[in-house]
Symmetry: C2
């Protein structure tokens, strides 16, 4: 597991964010628009040609493989390819958690691209987001960890729209941590999660 050192300044990080964040936001809009559009076929065909041209332009120079997880030497993390919170990943809703009491909390919105049952969040997307948020809660003591097991209990369907995820460590035992979390809409909890997270021996402190 190769965590990459990329020693760039805070200014350079801010510059890269300023270049990429608008593009990633537009690609998120595009994903949504492709699902929901009702325009004539010719417009869809034109859109494909245009998007394909943009892909060619961006691929003119590109890294081999995935983005990876990069850190500066003062340990600013840049998991910019991450499927849930990555700054350069248009699949990521994105979900950004902040400290909340002893745990973490994230507010985010899930639109048409995250649908499973009609008008509702895909159960697996609930799991995707909670896996990330529970993992961040597990790392709240500055040690990265991997999910050993995680269980989700679906109390009722989660509507698409504004949601909140919370998680915190509830038990520690050696390199193992038990983390509990919830996904909620305005009416209350829709999904409960409990995970066992394990700190590997070879991972740097965050």
């Amino acid at each position: 597991m190769d965590f990459t050192l990329e020693d760039i300044s805070d200014d350079e990080i801010a510059r890269r964010r300023a270049v990429f964040e608008p593009l990633v936001a537009s690609v998120r809009d595009l994903v949504d628009a492709v699902i929901r559009t009702e325009v004539d076929d010719e417009v869809v065909v034109d859109a494909q040609r245009t998007v394909s041209g943009v892909v060619d332009a961006l691929r003119a120079q590109q890294m081999d493989g995935a983005y990876g997880v990069r850190y500066t030497s003062n340990l600013v993390g840049m998991a910019w390819g991450n499927a849930v919170m990555g700054m350069r990943n248009a699949i990521a809703p994105p979900v950004h958690s902040t400290p909340d009491g002893g745990g973490v909390r994230a507010e985010f919105t899930l639109g048409a691209a995250y649908e499973g049952p009609p008008g509702h969040v895909h159960g697996g997307v609930c799991a995707l987001v909670l896996d990330q948020v529970l993992g961040e809660a597990a790392a709240a003591d500055n040690k990265a960890s991997y999910t050993g097991t995680i269980e989700f209990r679906y109390l009722r369907p989660t509507p698409l729209g504004q949601l909140v995820a919370r998680a915190e460590i509830v038990e520690r035992a050696g390199r193992k941590k038990t983390v509990r979390g919830t996904l909620s809409d305005a009416r209350g909890i829709t999904v409960e999660a409990e995970g066992l997270f394990i700190v590997p021996k070879d991972v740097p402190e965050l």
Copy 2:
């Protein structure tokens, strides 16, 4: 939960697929290219302007809300917005399962957009895909069902690349079904899953 009747012919379904599949494939490429590109900033800025224009063109006429889950009167399902297998959803890898013995099986490839740990599939993406595949196995007796609980056991990190998911019903009790599944790479199983699925009273037979 509103399952929509949209009575179109097989030919019309094929026509719509022919129009949208190339666009969705190009948007998937775009998501990947945005993560991996190393072109100069000007190209990224130009890409944003172009993508934004395509979004405007597609949004000129669009449905309210999400795509929903639509069926023809002879029960051909069109869950085209689905986050894991939806034909119009560029977030979906996509994962398509086929019957396999008493259960279902899906082969698919996960690239840079599904990354969590460096070079590896996000644990939550493993859960996302398995939730869908276990749900499809649960529906193998022609009754749609919802996930009650689901647990994932991570045996080792799942590398990005070609993967296989399998699932089958292992126990039935009234409206409840226990389904077990696995995610595997070429070396063997990486994640095990077990879910309890529930057939609601108000869902049509598929």
